[in-house]
Amino acid sequence: MKSSRLYRGRKRRNGFFLTLSVFAALFGLIWLGLILYSLFYNGFASLSGTLFTEMTPPPGSNGGLANAILGSVLMSALAVAAGTPVGLLAGTYLAEYGRHSRIAFVVRFVNDILLSAPSIVTGLFIYEIIVMKMHHFSAWAGAASLTVIVIPVVVRTTENMLLLVPNGLREAAAALGAPRSSVIRIVTWRAARAGIVTGVLLAIARISGETAPLLFTSLNNQFWSTDLNAPMASLPAVIFQFAMSPYEDWHRLAWAGALLITVTVLSLSIAARILESSKRS
């Protein structure tokens, strides 16, 4: 009699907490669904043909986001071009040369801190070392601050991917008489190629929505500008400015920009995921 009450109590508690966890999952999914819904709803309503052809307008007139899109693409491309080689080499050092050495331990630790350090601090850092020295905001500074964000992402994925390469491959190449650098460049890098590309894609996804480091490095620019020595517009900075303004038509453009960023980020992460799983199978 007593034991059956005990069983019932335990069963009830089990049912109660498991129901709670189902609700937790529903709760999480509902919020995230709501965000995506209002993003697509408002974003699609604001999409128009002029989005890609016209410049950011003054309040009250029609326009697009062409200069902001150009700025984002240009600065991201520069950041990836500068950050990938450094990240790739540093990740190679950690996985191939350093492994268990003390310096590798420190680099790994610092890199993982940089990976989740507040991006606004990155902006302050680049402001101090570039904007202050040049005495003006510039696209170079914006690209530099994005580079600082790209490097840790690429380092982390490169190291992880290289560590997955079986040692047998390295040993086989070394037994043929290949010097270590050739083993790395011709064998391990090639074996880990898909993973390394995944890391770069994730890095692009990460920087395409970064706003805080651009606010006081590349600032903003109302006009079409390809001058890297001058302030440059970027999608996130324009969204920030337009969303905080009191103007309806600016709000619409901000939603459209937010949709563009989300679609970019989601497709990049999905591409990265497909690459990763195709390699695994």
Binding site: A25, L32, A90, T92, R180, L215
Partner: protein, 329 residues
């Protein structure tokens, strides 16, 4: 005979040259990777150094009391970080209180309850959402969430808590929509996928034999989770939560949109406030005067220090777990 000997020596010479060349490029490549690794360290050192130099005028002018001074007056050039530090800590902690239990609940759902066919899609959806940039959460919070919150949940909460002695002060005041509490909610939604993804990964490192042994003893699912899986995965879950806390502390855009940017400390969570990152984002480009700018940079330094402590302890916990998992497999 002589011909063969001749060929032999040239081949040997060529091979020797190749080996030398290989050795040279080997050393050069090693050096190159090492330089890249040092660049990572240099960035970290550079951040600390440049922020300290930039913060010097403010450190000299205000000293240590900067941290516990609430005043923020650009006109009289009196600056203190307290209101921002308070906002940063309160929003992050409130977000954690909401997000950690729910995140763990989602992880339990994913590893134990969810039908196998749904596990991967839901898991992938959560990971994808963890990658959505914070500015998206910010714009959604400002235009969609805050107005809805203001007209529905907020008046109800104020009404609900108005007669409860300990809590009434925290949920008092007019429903503005934006404010500390709204910022905390947005933050919690933002770090939720992050916490559940890490927790799920940690749960999956628990050896199945442990769980099977507990089930064989007649444990219910909940008892297995609470008494076996959670204790085993504790340091990983705490590490993951700390990682999320690090993100929440430094989060800029999701907070800046909805916090109201007011340099005052109120007991009520419904009043507008500010955080370190929101203050910097809002005021940096408009800051006139060296002292103003330098005070903002010093706040950046404080933020970097706080997040460093949190992230470093998260690292140590997760790394200890990795070693243990490695030993078991």
């Amino acid at each position: 005979m002589a011909d063969i000997a001749l060929i032999d020596t040239t081949v040997t010479a060529k091979r020797a040259a190749a080996v030398r060349r290989g050795g040279f490029s080997d050393a050069r490549f090693h050096g190159l990777t090492m330089i890249a690794a040092v660049i990572v360290l240099a960035i970290f050192g550079g951040v600390i150094l440049s922020l300290t130099i930039g913060a010097m005028p403010s450190i000299k002018a205000f000293g240590l009391p900067f941290i516990w001074t609430e005043a923020w007056n650009p006109v009289t050039e009196k600056f203190g970080a307290l209101a921002s530090v308070y906002g940063t800590l309160v929003t992050s902690l409130t977000a954690m209180i909401i997000a950690v239990p729910i995140g763990i609940g989602i992880a339990i759902f994913l590893t134990e309850i969810c039908p196998r066919s749904l596990r991967r899609p839901i898991g992938i959806a959560i990971e994808l959402l963890a990658g959505i940039p914070s500015i998206i959460f910010g714009i959604w919070g400002l235009f969609t969430f805050a107005p809805a919150f203001q007209s529905t949940v907020q008046p109800w909460l104020i009404d609900f808590f108005k007669d409860i002695p300990a809590l009434q002060d925290f949920f008092a005041g007019p429903p503005y929509g934006i404010g500390i509490f709204t910022a905390s909610l947005i933050l919690s939604i933002m770090i939720l996928p992050f916490i559940s993804a890490v927790t799920r990964d940690v749960f999956e490192t628990v050896p199945p034999t442990l769980k099977e042994a507990a089930y064989a003893m007649g444990c219910t699912t909940w008892e297995v989770m609470w008494r076996v899986v959670l204790p085993f995965a504790r340091s990983g879950v705490v590490g993951g939560a700390m990682l999320a806390l690090g993100r929440a502390l430094g989060e800029t855009m999701a907070v800046t949109f909805v916090i109201g940017n007011a340099h005052h400390i109120h007991t009520s969570l419904f009043s507008p406030g500010t955080t370190i990152s929101a203050t910097i984002a809002n005021e940096f480009t408009e800051a006139v005067g060296d002292l103003y700018l330098s005070s903002l940079i010093e706040m950046g330094l404080i933020l970097f220090f706080i997040t460093f402590v949190v992230l470093a302890s998260a690292q140590l916990m997760l790394r200890a777990l990795e070693h243990r998992a490695g030993g078991l497999s």
